[in-house]
Amino acid sequence: MIGSREERVASPWLVAVTRLGFLLLLLALWWIASQLVSRNVIPTPLATAEAAARLWADGRLAAAVLTSLGTYLGGFALAVLVALPLGIVMGAFGLLGRTLEIYVYALAATPRVAFIPLIIVLLGLGIEAKLFVVFLGAVMPIVINTYAGVRQADVDLVEMAHSVGAGRAQIFRAVVLPGAVPYILAGLRIGATIGLINTVVAELYTAVTGLGGLLALYGNSFRMAEYFVVVLTLAVIGVLVTELLRLLEAHLTRWST
């Protein structure tokens, strides 16, 4: 952060206003694009709003959102439960970390689609398979960032903690984790966005349900206004979750001026 220490916090009101301004700009661009691109590939904002009202009224959108949210939040929660301890352990035990990291990266770099046949055989087409696909997508960024955060722990503070006789667990809880919070939260943000993407992937490649199912339906029948409604719904879910994470971060780093 640059600028003197004192200019650091933008007022929430100002932020709201500039965000709104940017939204209007995006809407204008969208409208222009809808006019320029031929063949109705891009629906107008108005047509999209109408489609949204329609989908909301007949309850389809809400039902799909609920289904997808269940998959998404479940898979993401699993990913957090696995990734945090794994990242921490990898960061804490240097040799273990260095041993596992290449396998973590290898797994992270392998497309989820590639595992779909295997997942279907082992987990079927139902919620287990979907949760696993979401989990696979969200887990890696959290592991990678947590690992990086733990390795960045302040050696002076760790030495201080040793000097008061703190055990490994306590050093983690009191020194290493609080220091890694900004990393972990950036990892959670990335994991949350990728988890959402993978929710759609899961809904397309195992039993077709939820928002992914709607996407396929409207995509294949070229109902672009409805299609855009689904895409925007996904974007809104993404924003809500990452904003919640921002609040969490603000809470966890309230000590910094």
Partner: protein, 318 residues
């Protein structure tokens, strides 16, 4: 005429084990070249990508599903026209676990479809209907892509599903599975044109000779294969060295009547297909277009005038 290669978009990644392989083989066997057209095959995974390619100008002709073409036209892409169909009847079949001995056993069982309202769903419903089985008595499970459906069946996650014969024969281990309804019975029950080659109006206007040359080449190769199925077996064995020759030998005779010798465009069949599709859920609330809103017989008729119509093969009624 353009010096650019003529880009033919196909939705398979290697010559498929079905008659639409003529598009790949016409290239490797030099049929296009002989007709004086420089064809470049562009491979995409699915019909939506192929359609988008036509719209972006990155493809000149695309082999796509009729349902997708009609959907696209319905929402405004009204300059697309079907000009020929090398694989009007996709050889679909219904495969099932051995525990499902007869179609009636499927009541209450799990049947996998692409998704509610998709073509495979509607077609299968039609097929079951003629056999006196109500598809709604089954648990329908939306599973998406054909290969995923096949995998789900192989993994025992569903009891039966629709797939193409090509997918069926490439399944590595069919133990415990069998064909419940074969491709002939399937087509007899649901005689609709499934795929066509479509071109945008701009290509029709700017490169008419190329369009005709492509159609001519496809007709010529189809006629050669119909005359001597062994030709197809040899060509496929060369193109797909990993496929057991025995498989090809078994498949070849079953395609005897499937080659589009006259271009695969029967006005009556196309009209029926339109009507049928517009009765399915995906087209609910829309009115069926007239044939000339999505078909252009012009190039094919020009070719047929030159090469003649073979009687007793696919009808060329207008």
């Amino acid at each position: 005429q353009s010096d650019e290669p003529f880009r033919l978009v196909v939705t398979h990644l290697e010559p498929p084990l079905v008659p639409s392989s003529v598009m790949d083989l016409a290239l490797t066997l030099g049929y296009f070249e002989r007709e004086g057209v420089d064809v470049e095959l562009v491979r995409v995974q699915q019909t939506p990508s192929a359609l988008a390619a036509l719209q972006s100008g990155d493809g000149d002709m695309a082999n796509i599903g009729v349902d997708a073409l009609l959907q696209a036209i319905a929402v405004g892409a009204d300059d697309l026209r079907a000009v020929t169909s090398p694989n009007k009847s996709l050889p679909f079949l219904i495969a099932a676990k051995d525990s499902v001995a007869a179609p009636s056993d499927l009541e209450g069982a799990v049947f996998a479809i692409g998704r509610i309202g998709s073509v495979d769903h509607s077609l299968s419903a039609e097929v079951f209907d003629t056999l006196g089985v109500d598809i709604d008595s089954m648990q329908l499970f939306s599973v998406g892509q054909p290969n995923v459906r096949a995998q789900a069946l192989a993994a025992g996650q569903v009891d039966a599903t629709t797939m193409s014969i090509g997918t069926w024969v490439s399944l590595p281990d069919r133990a415990g599975l069998h064909v419940l309804i074969d491709q002939d019975a399937y087509y007899a029950a649901a005689p609709v044109v499934s795929k066509v080659n479509a071109v945008p109006a701009s290509v029709l206007a700017e490169r008419p000779e190329d369009v005709e040359a492509v159609i001519r080449a496809l007709i010529r190769i189809s006629r050669d294969f119909a005359a001597d199925p062994q030709l197809w077996v040899d060509a496929m064995a060369e193109a797909l060295p990993h496929v057991d020759r025995q498989t090809l030998e078994t498949l070849a005779p079953s395609y005897a009547g499937s080659w589009s010798i006259n271009g695969g465009m029967s006005a009556a069949e196309l009209r029926e297909t339109t009507d049928w599709l517009y009765r399915t859920a995906d087209f609910a609330g829309m009115t069926a277009p007239s044939l000339d809103a999505w078909v252009d017989f012009g190039p094919l008729d020009a070719v047929l005038a030159e090469v003649g119509i073979v009687d007793g093969a696919d009808p060329a009624d207008r």
